[in-house]
Symmetry: C2
Subunit: 325 residues, 2 copies
Amino acid sequence: VRRVTALAGGIGGARFLRGLRAALADIHAEITVIGNTGDDITMHGLRICPDLDTVMYTLGGGIHEDQGWGRADETYTVKEELAAYDVGPTWFGLGDRDIATHLVRSQMLSAGYPLSDVTAALCARWQLGVALLPMSDDRVETHVVIDGDGQRRAVHFQEWWLHLHAGVPAQDFVFIGADEATPAPGVIDAIRNADVVLLPPSNPVVSIGSILAVPGIGDALRTTAAPVVGLSPIIGNAPVRGMADACLTAIGVETSAYAVAGHYGSRADQGILDGWLVDESDKDAADLLTEEGLPTRAIPLFMHDVDTAAAMATAALDVADEVRP
Amino acid sequence: VRRVTALAGGIGGARFLRGLRAALADIHAEITVIGNTGDDITMHGLRICPDLDTVMYTLGGGIHEDQGWGRADETYTVKEELAAYDVGPTWFGLGDRDIATHLVRSQMLSAGYPLSDVTAALCARWQLGVALLPMSDDRVETHVVIDGDGQRRAVHFQEWWLHLHAGVPAQDFVFIGADEATPAPGVIDAIRNADVVLLPPSNPVVSIGSILAVPGIGDALRTTAAPVVGLSPIIGNAPVRGMADACLTAIGVETSAYAVAGHYGSRADQGILDGWLVDESDKDAADLLTEEGLPTRAIPLFMHDVDTAAAMATAALDVADEVRP
């Protein structure tokens, strides 16, 4: 059995994981996904885990394909009614189907179940074919430090991302609660006991970065016997989707496949990467990184469909085999 | 200004109140409704107040007219999704539009607002034209004692009513929490300072009975200077709607307009009624009750529409004027 562990954020991570599952369909593999919960939020009393749900819906066949998040055939009756009651906020896309997920989650959390148990219970319906673990059962929330009329203030990541459309420059990201958080059950073992660890092309700051902010996870990556291979979410100095550039700029990292590799760092230099994949258009960066000691391969990194995502996963697994000590 | 206070349960009460509002449209009147909360229930983490909502939607123009409860143009997406997660119960008709009401309510209650404030906030949207007060801000839940395979057990009223369809004989009704409950702010004053108090044709046991179970409300009715006039929910030995017969039988009261009047009792005999209205088909009962000392009038008591409900309300106000000390 080949044990593959992946850290994942939302859309990009979920689509990559679907490719990974396809790439491993014919061999006996166990895939464990450590999902970001830093963008979780409570709205209208509902506990919402956007990244976990995107992974769950994508792998479970319930995702809105074009949109990349939320449910297919979604309706927004509850949201319209909430607006009629004039209770905010209205900028969060809270669909009716999606609300059922949040109701089940919120009720189980209120009853005292940890998020990892809740996530497993929700996933039982969707039959992902992977084990989905939240990075932590503790509350960790990503807040964004912005300049609000001359005064620094922090807003929840979702407000900055969805409401402000990342249009107000982020000055910093703070993972509130991370210091006190512990990895959810199974997370550290999944990294330690893996044959391969993958970093999908998720946002390095607010998806992977928040996972790495949980004490113990970074150390596990730096010390696991498994090769750790990442895929760049940046192609030709622009994020494939989302607003990773705004996030990278805030933490002083250039928006390039080369710079993100440097941000993660190679294990030879106390970083977390043993191998790196960049888009074919970034071949120069691949050559330079390889020369500098981080084995890097340039391949097509646009996920048009499951097949292209599977090809990326296969390439990542190949790189892992090559760099395996 | 004419101050009219009414106690109300669900469908029958709400339709009567719509008639009352119409009957008083041309004069300066203040209508206060004391709503039953004994059938409130928490489902999927949502706090649901079926009777308050039926009054709110009916007077606010959002009611499903044929059904008598729930929202017009309702959809059931969330309910279907909850069923797909295999989380029960499934026998409660939880509509998407309705869920928005419950989300607002649940969140406000969690934030510490009393139910009376929450109800006022919800009603602000619906512009009822009446003040709707819950009977109490404290939790009072009507449970039904039934015989479960030889053993007495109590089930929540909603389970008995909606799930068992009142098909298992009720042996008793218990208003859990009533002993410790206090009337919501404004309830006692609304009875004491009223010019008229009305008991709409609501279920005498589980709608009006639960309101009367709150300490202080019965005393206020027995001692108010205002005439108290009720309308029979029973016509010709059968309830107009619902299963009031099953409720009355459980507490040893015959299903008749005459017996319900006796159950409430006339104020001359330490009861709460100064006047009573029965259907024209129950004229014999009216004569007998009047002879026995309770002024009773027989009029058409079927509420086909707002006009017939308004005619009933007008008749009740007329009786109040006649019996006024």
